[in-house]
């Protein structure tokens, strides 16, 4: 679901920061509650190893 936001453009003087992290912060382990349509969709994607895009096309 796409939300619409309004943003300024990049300043002409902008340059990308040079140091970038190689990965995001460590992940945490949790247990999903097996309920609802979103969980069903998650399970189907995970079990069948399909991407969001492939899932959308189904």
């Amino acid at each position: 679901m796409a939300t619409l936001v309004t943003l300024p453009s990049l300043p002409p003087t902008w340059t990308a920061p040079s140091d970038s992290a190689s990965s995001i912060s460590p992940l945490v382990q949790r247990r999903l509650i097996p309920a609802g349509a979103a969980y069903l969709a998650h399970v189907k994607r995970t079990l069948n190893n399909i991407t969001f895009e492939q899932y959308d096309e189904q």
């Binding site: 943003l7 453009s9 300043p11 970038s20 990965s23 992940l27 509650i33 097996p34 969980y39 399970v43």
Partner: protein
């Protein structure tokens, strides 16, 4: 619903052959009250018109009462009235807390089954009917008609499971009478702290009552399902607090909800707060009033004298109505008891203001527990976006009023939204049964899915464990003239911390590109979020000459700071309309933590070429 679908799971090995449209229900099986719902329909009332059905069974003579009628037997026939059985399910006799044995029929060791909890009640069994008179030439014993023999007093031993089976059977029977069709299966809610033995016992008792259990759903799961079906004014990524105030306990859970996927961040339960305690305060108030009016002493909660005990039991039944009136309206609510003591009737009243004063301590206790829970998850009350209430006692508006004080002023609650009364979507007394009924529909629709998918709805199955993000990721458009203290530009959070993976978030941004050559682009950052608490002197007015030590006021503010720069993306827009370009920004994080970022310009006829960058897995 597929007309010939098989029942998807639970005890999936023995699928029921569904030949007609199946009737599948949701059951909220509390320790004190239960309710049942079907499909999108509201909770179903039993023959007595009640939607909250007391978990009570009473034996009186040859009669067996179930539900609220049984509760009335607590006044004169408490020894044969069974309550509080749900929490004993799946427990051995040696594990039953002695404190649990209170007003109703005592829990005993079953006479023949080892270490099994049971109830012993007195019943009247119909006498065996007299032998029919035989042929005429039999030597007549007597010309006098055989007197109808009296029913025989007998003892009946019922295990906790048997009691549950009787109760669930009657609940489902009421639903069948209402629906006019057989109930084939159910989703039943259970507290998250129920262990495997307790869950197994619920399933067994239900199956013994002829109800196939599709799934035992944690209370929080039932709420999730209801929510997902609810309004779109609520952000789809949020932190939710569930406050469940029942009769004998308070259950709190803090949940991360991300586009319908839910998990628990922390939970807590406390059996020293609940409706029973509220009742105690209220009946003490009325007992005092009674004594004032009639000059008849009456000591209740606790009562020691048997006459006072009976008066207390009567008052406990009566305040049930008083509390419901108080929840529904702020005006005076009455409490009437015939022959409360010494043959004296009593009618008293209390309004919500006074009532809230009487039970303030209980509200405060809940508030203290809420703070404890949120702190245990390492976050602040200000990080909570929504409160949902479950349980009869959570209908009281005074509770919500007390709690919201500590949260941000934007906190979403069903009282604010006006969805509590009139069977609204936020009604705490029906939310569990409705959630279970909706989940039941979803499970029925799984008939065409693989066995693996269906198994994923059974607790303990591996698919429910998931990796989630530890920090919020968003986009930043740096600005030369950015105000101090912020991140140095315009910040838009994309993927919040505690988002289960894999996940995808997409936003469309309209960007001002007044100068030609302006670039559209973003930096992607991981951030640290927090809440800063300042203690400031409250504003005082000149003429207020209060020499007392001024109490400092707590002022809270959400804070945000940069943790790590991940990547940046930019493009030169080609489709500029009235000085604005439109881009779609997408972030996908795989289950290994790899981040896939992309922007595309929104063109006249679809999306432009994607500019992408990938941040490695963690």
């Amino acid at each position: 619903m597929p007309p010939n679908g098989i029942i998807p799971n639970g005890t999936a090995e023995a699928p029921i052959d569904v030949s007609a449209v199946p009737s599948i229900v949701g059951i909220n099986f509390g320790n004190s009250y239960a309710s049942i719902a079907e499909g999108l329909a509201e909770c179903i009332a039993n023959e007595d018109g009640e939607r909250q059905i007391a978990c009570a069974i009473a034996f009186h003579g040859e009669e067996m009462y179930i539900g609220n009628q049984a509760k009335h037997q607590l006044v004169k026939n408490s020894q044969n009235t069974i309550t509080g059985f749900r929490n004993l399910l799946g427990k051995k006799f040696s594990e039953v807390p002695q404190a649990a044995l209170s007003v109703s029929a005592p829990v005993i060791q079953h006479p023949s089954l080892p270490d099994t909890a049971a109830y012993k009640v007195k019943v009247l069994q119909p006498a065996p009917s007299p032998l029919p008179a035989t042929a005429a030439n039999t030597p007549a014993a007597s010309q006098v008609a055989t007197p109808r023999s009296e029913p025989i007093e007998a003892e009946r031993i019922l295990t906790v499971s048997e009691v549950t089976t009787i109760f669930l059977g009657s609940l489902v029977q009421s639903a069948e009478d209402f629906l006019g069709k057989k109930v084939l299966g159910a989703v039943i809610s259970v507290p998250s702290w129920f262990d495997d033995a307790q869950r197994e016992a619920v399933i067994q008792s239900a199956e013994d009552a002829g109800v196939h259990v599709l799934q035992l759903l944690d209370d929080a799961g039932a709420v999730t399902v209801c929510d997902a079906a609810g309004s779109d004014e609520i952000p789809s990524d949020r932190t939710q607090l569930i406050v469940d105030l029942g009769a004998s306990s308070l259950e709190l859970s803090l949940l991360s909800i991300r586009e319908g996927l839910t998990y628990s961040l922390a939970s807590l339960s406390d059996s020293s707060v609940g409706g029973d305690e509220i009742d105690s305060k209220l009946i003490k108030f009325f007992a005092k009033e009674f004594t004032k009016k009639t000059r008849t002493p009456l000591t209740v909660a606790p009562a020691s004298d048997p006459i006072d005990k009976r008066a207390e039991a009567k008052l406990r039944l009566a305040v049930e109505h008083t509390k419901r009136t108080l929840s529904a309206s702020p005006g005076a609510a009455t409490c009437s008891v015939e022959s409360l003591k010494d043959g004296l009737d009593y009618t008293g009243s209390i309004n919500r203001l006074r009532f809230d004063m009487e039970v303030r301590q209980i509200y405060n206790k809940v508030y203290a527990k809420v703070k404890e829970l949120v702190a245990s998850a390492g976050i602040d009350l200000y990080d909570v976006d929504e409160i949902v209430y479950i349980g009869g006692s959570a209908c009281l508006p005074g509770l919500d009023e007390t709690l919201v004080e500590g949260f941000t002023e934007n906190i979403i609650t069903p009282f604010k939204a006006g969805t509590v009364v009139g069977g609204g979507s936020g009604d705490p007394t029906t939310i569990l049964a409705r959630g279970c009924a909706l989940q039941a529909q979803l499970l029925v629709s799984l008939a065409s899915e693989t066995e693996e998918v269906r198994q994923a709805f059974i607790k303990g199955n591996g698919t429910s464990s998931v990796s989630a993000t530890g920090r919020t990721i968003g986009l930043l458009v740096p600005q030369v003239s950015a105000a101090d203290g912020g991140l140095g530009g315009v910040w838009v959070p994309l993927i919040l911390k505690e988002t289960p993976l894999p996940c995808r978030r997409t936003i469309t941004a309209e960007v001002d590109v007044s100068e030609s050559g302006d670039k559209v682009g973003f930096e992607f950052w991981e951030v640290n979020e927090g809440v800063r608490i300042d203690h400031v002197k409250p504003q005082t007015f000149e003429d207020e000459e209060d020499e007392e030590e001024e109490e400092l006021e707590e002022v809270k503010e959400k804070t945000i700071s940069k943790e790590a720069f991940l990547a940046s993306l930019s493009l030169s827009p080609s489709n500029i309309i009235k000085g604005k370009a439109k881009v779609q920004v997408q972030a996908i994080i795989g289950s290994n933590g790899a981040v896939d970022l992309s922007i595309r310009e929104v063109m006249k006829d679809g999306l432009g070429e994607a500019v992408t960058v990938i941040v490695g897995s963690s």
